[in-house]
């Protein structure tokens, strides 16, 4: 999950340099440091819709950019719901159905487990520098942090969001805030990193808040705990057989 791009927006670079950097360099630092070799974590998702709060918990594993697995543990209704990402494919397993289904096409646009994240958001895995032309707009202070303000505009056709605006912390190289825009220029989503921690050689975002700007009064907060990075995850986790196990 971590390596999925939902974390990418929040990615980080260890040591900031004070010298002038190009926009590409800044994003490359964010990009490069996003990718952890592997990860293991527990997560808690707080979904708020119109003031009603629902909480969900899941455990996740990832390996490189291409493999990820998550399994919901709470609430009881969602227990046993699993997701597996292998390269570009996303599979979902519902215990009641007892079979994995592939999430593809227009279904990817839909909300993941009722949250503000879409399946697309969790499955995204390309590096930003490969997808976007990047322009450094400004420097701004956001929540007491010195930030670069960057604008990313798609240079290839196959991207989820046509443009993004990112506020990157000058010292930590963490995307403190990201705005995601549709091609029409309409703001669709806003992601903010509310907490990050030093874990090994990474400064890792451990709490993010996603707001679907097309709807009123909704947000999803995702908080990670027990994060272990660069640890070995057994290969069998990332298989259909493991996904469909009883």
């Amino acid at each position: 999950m971590k390596t999925m791009k939902l974390m990418c927006y929040l990615a980080i670079a260890g040591f900031g340099s004070l010298s002038a950097e190009t926009a590409e360099e800044i994003i490359a630092k964010v990009d490069n440091n996003t990718v952890v070799t592997s990860s293991r974590y527990s997560a808690r998702m707080v979904i708020s819709i119109g003031g009603t709060i629902r909480e969900k918990e899941f455990n996740g594993y990832s390996e490189g950019k291409e493999l990820a697995y998550m399994e919901f543990t709470a609430p009881a209704r969602d227990r046993g719901t699993r997701f597996l990402k292998i390269k570009d494919e996303l599979w979902m397993y519902l215990p009641t159905v007892e079979r994995a289904t592939k999430i593809a096409g227009h279904m990817l646009r839909q909300s993941m487990m009722g949250s503000d994240f879409s399946y697309d958001d969790i499955a995204e895995n390309e590096e930003l520098v490969d997808l976007y032309n990047i322009e450094l707009l400004d420097a701004e202070t956001l929540d007491g942090r010195e930030c670069y303000v960057l604008e990313l505009t798609a240079k290839v056709a196959e991207v989820n969001y046509h443009s993004r605006k990112m506020w990157v912390d000058k010292e930590m190289y963490v995307a403190v805030k990201v705005e995601l825009y549709a091609k029409t220029g309409k703001l669709m989503k806003e992601v903010a990193t509310t907490e990050f921690r030093r874990i090994g050689r990474y400064t890792y975002p451990t709490s993010v808040r996603m707001v679907n700007k097309l709807r009123r009064d909704t947000y999803t907060e995702l908080t990670l705990s027990d994060v272990e990075l660069d640890v070995k995850v057994p290969d069998r986790v990332f298989t259909r057989a493991y996904l469909e196990r009883k």
Binding site: G50, G105, H106, L108, R109, Q110, S111, D120, A154, A157, E158, V159, N160, Y161, H162, L180, A182, K183, T184, K186, M188, L214, R215, R216, D217
Partner: protein
Amino acid sequence: MKILNLAWRNVFRHTRRTIITAAAISVGLASMIMMNTMMNGMDKMASRNIIDYETSHLEVFARGYYREEGFFPLDTIVEDPLSLTEEIKQIRGVSGVAPRVKFHASITNGIDELPVLGVGIDIEEERKVFDTPEAVVEGRYLEQNGDVLIGAGLARDMDLEVGSFLTMITRDRNGTYNALDLAVAGIINSGHPLFDRNAAVIAIEEAQELLAMEGAVTELSIRARNENDLAPLKRELSAVIGEEHELYTWKELSASVFEISGFKRAAQFMIALVVVIISAVGIVNTMLMAVMERIPEIGTLKAMGFRKSGIMKMFLYEGGIIGIFGSLLGCAVGILVSLYLVYVGFDMSGMFEDMDIGYPIRMVIKGEIDPRMVFYVFLFGVLVSVAVTLWPVRKATKLEPVDALRHV
């Protein structure tokens, strides 16, 4: 002739018995006709809705586009609709061609988000091929970019009215998110659930922009001058559209709808069959009684030199006469009820308020009488009456005249 005369008199000697038997036949037949009228009406309505709102008479897609109903890929599309449209318009049997872009999307009013079928239409050409403009029950038809028509069901579910704003969310041909603010220009109530429940109709230019289609469309809908015989037109069109496109008639595109209807017809037939069996048992019963009552009479006839076959003929004539009366009565009642269904209709709106019956019909169903069916039903009634007379009569004619005369 003499025998027929005798049979005729016999029938009217027992007026009450004749009436009861005839009534038993007529109830069965009337209900068969009524059900048939209803089914025909539903099928006709479904066909009209599909032709007038969904497919028109024929549709052209890029080859490989049409794999299953309800699946709208954006990777197999008609890249150059303009020149193709021109070529199709040259054909004499074509009265109109309208391009459409169909796509998966969702709309949100800021609170709820619901999946919809996005339909991009050519505002002008649409009029020549579809009845969409006439289906607008509130507000107005599309006039400009930024307008959207939504189905009445969708409007109700999302609390939208004319003038409300909504955001349409979709992914373009490359998978990039796109969102568009639209104002509800009109509300559609066509009678076709596809449109009334979950469609959002916008101008085709806007849909193409939204989906990065670069002038391409998903389909061209063709209206024929003569809708009763599409086969020659289909052949003519097939020659024009070229290898990279495929062509289907509305019937082929809605095969599954009529498959459902086939099942319904089978079910209807079974019900009718049960009704007929019940009335046939009634007829057997009365005929049996009639024959039993008249065994001494049969004995007298035999004693007077009547042949077995003559007696048999007489009873069969009687059965036939009663059958004709019963069938006439049944057909008359059936047609009367059917006429009510044709002109007034049967209101099912209460029954299906929130139910999607998967069948494109309006909630007031109007019947459609099939004269051929009425004729068959009539014939059926007469034949059954004659056939069920056979058995009791054969039994009676086997008796010796002496035994028959002594029979009480």
